[in-house]
Amino acid sequence: MTVEPGARVDAPEPLTRVDAPEPSAPESGAPHVLIIGGGGTGGALAHDLTLRGLRVTVVERGEITSGTTGRHHGLLHSGARYATTDRASAVDCSAENKILRRICPGSFEENDGLYVAITDEDAAYEKEFLDGCWQSAVPAKRVEREAALRMEPGLNAAMQFAVQVPDATMDAMRVPLRFFATARRHGAEIKPFTEVIALTMAGRTVGGVKVRDHAAGRDYEIGADIVVNAAGPWVGKVAALAGVNVPVVASPGVMVAVRGRHCNMVVSRLHSPADGDIVLPQRALTVVGTSSWIADDPDDLRVPADHVEMVVRESAALVPAIARAEIRAVWAAARPLIGEVGGKKRRSPRRVARADAAGHGAGEAATGPGAGSGAGPATEPAGRNLAREMRCFDHATDAAPIEGFVTVAGGKATTLRAMAEATADVICAKLGLVRPCQTVDYVLLPHTAWYSE
């Protein structure tokens, strides 16, 4: 086979749609949704809404994925991590793990994960862990010591046994870029370096945003039927622009990248989620993490030195070579820990969507592990056991209602699509539209498409 010079070789992952025709560009009269925040949540939501025929604009103050998204650990969760502490999250992760592999083919190091038992206490935890996995639909299988060491010779030889689960490694930026690229192909306007500096209000209704285009050095307004606050740990700051109180604190965690690829599988400690218990290979690096503390400002994440030591020490208990490896980078990423006031903790995308669409639910206090103590940075210094589920606030159901304004935060990068689905359901209900979600089977453009003109 010969090819004309300059001909493009077929992209490895063409855009295909499993079961439905290509969406037509949204009609000019279609409702316009403006999304604040170009992280994974904003990208997945833009994709979902364009497939439902809406006009979408995303504004991001920096580069796309420059918030929490680009710097997360890179674990495509199997759900196992939450199997004993947060069943709802475990179930979501298990489902989304399969969906993301299908709609983002070629974007993961699909090498599975091992939960490693080192102490007798770890070993005693096996039954609870396997039960939790089973009840969360997470495939989990015991692997004896010798077999585990043949798969991963770098494991601590003092290990007793391991449990294999379908964890994988993702590229924290390139997976979301596929959502952004596909959304843009379907008409979404995506504006990096564009910061929201005010919300334009007509009485108690949000009618759009005022932005500052840092690259051009000018301010302008964008009108919208609904404004979505998807600003991650900054949601509190953005909500305050509308006079809305979203009680949120930033809870950063430290990650350390060391030189050398010390394992191929994701290696975790077989115990209840704790600090420094995930070892993740990525290219020629091994990334270990994480920890958590409370920060006043999500833009000022200074890394506490003792957290670095702790994370390296704990992860070296799993893969000893980490203790001797040269550190290449140390950084932090912040989760938004959202308080209970006005928040609806997500159970499953569909359930929350129905509750919110019916006009109640969003105003209810949440229940579950985070309830009560969840809002209190003072009472909960670490935040590890606070709920990490997604929260979606329709501010029309607040005690002091604001129309046209929805906040979404929390969740995990693994569940970005499900978060988008739940939020898009709320948005469609608010707009009086019946448009089902279509993202489950939609194979996304490759990340390189984000950079095409």
Binding site: V3, E63, S107, D112, A333
Partner: protein, 243 residues
């Protein structure tokens, strides 16, 4: 630790740029990216700079520091000569968005057609030979390719500076990877791409690409291997036996 940064500034669409000076106080392990983010936070929120992963893995934070291509997140301020301003400029041979941010569109226009998959087989054969056993259900271990698509090599390349059409080191290194590990791909189109006039034959072996590459791709070596493949394939085609 305090340092003076001299940062290149230009608004979108502006041809002229100028330097702004900022004096910043930094913690001892701070990177150039930490310094730039501090400038944004404390001195001038309008500074336009790209970043995402903070650990030399996404490839967005490429800049020129004191004239040399680096990843800002991977360059400690303490490594740079003290006592004189640290000059930070955007990458060269690429379109400018504003300040330090370049538009990677031209880079990907050359890189993407090669069609290198993001995930490679991690030299699984060698590992299996070394006694590594694959977990049940995993057909082969995979890992992301080394290239993080940062464009440092293209910025440093003297040929790209004078010849805007040159496909550039990263794309050719990617082509060499496809040839080395085809993963079911048809090689002829890749070799044809590499054989174009603005491709392997343009390279003058300046080695600047390999010197700046932060991710051990060694584009210069990949390129010379590829050149041998292209030459061999050209000969075979001449003899009627090539791809």
């Amino acid at each position: 630790m305090s340092a003076r940064f001299r940062v290149s500034r230009s608004a979108r669409g502006e041809v002229e740029s100028h330097f702004d000076d900022f004096d910043v106080e930094l913690e001892s392990g701070a990177t150039v990216l930490d310094a730039l983010l501090q400038i944004k936070r404390r001195h001038d929120p309008s500074l336009v700079v790209r970043h995402s992963c903070m650990h030399a893995s996404c490839g967005t934070c490429g800049v020129r520091v004191n004239g040399r291509e680096v990843l800002a997140c991977d360059t400690k301020v303490a490594w740079l000569p003290a006592g004189k301003p640290i000059e930070v400029e955007p990458l060269a041979n690429q379109r400018l968005v504003a300040d330090l941010a370049t538009d990677m569109v031209d880079f990907y226009a050359r890189y993407e057609p090669v069609g290198m998959p993001l995930v490679r087989g991690a030299g699984v054969k060698a590992e299996v030979d070394a006694g590594i056993e694959l977990p049940e259900g995993v057909k082969s271990f995979g890992r992301f390719e080394n290239c993080i698509e940062c464009g440092l090599c293209l910025s440093a390349c003297p040929v790209a500076r004078t010849s805007g059409e040159f496909i550039g080191p990263a794309a050719l290194a990617a082509a060499a990877r496809v040839v080395a590990e085809p993963r079911g791909r048809e090689l002829a189109p890749v070799l044809a791409l590499a054989a174009e006039p603005d491709s392997v034959w343009r390279c003058r072996d300046a080695m600047a690409c390999t010197a700046v590459c932060p991710s051990a791709v060694d584009p210069a070596r990949a390129l010379s291997t590829l050149r041998r493949h292209v030459a061999a394939n050209g000969l075979k085609r001449f003899l009627g036996r090539g791809a």
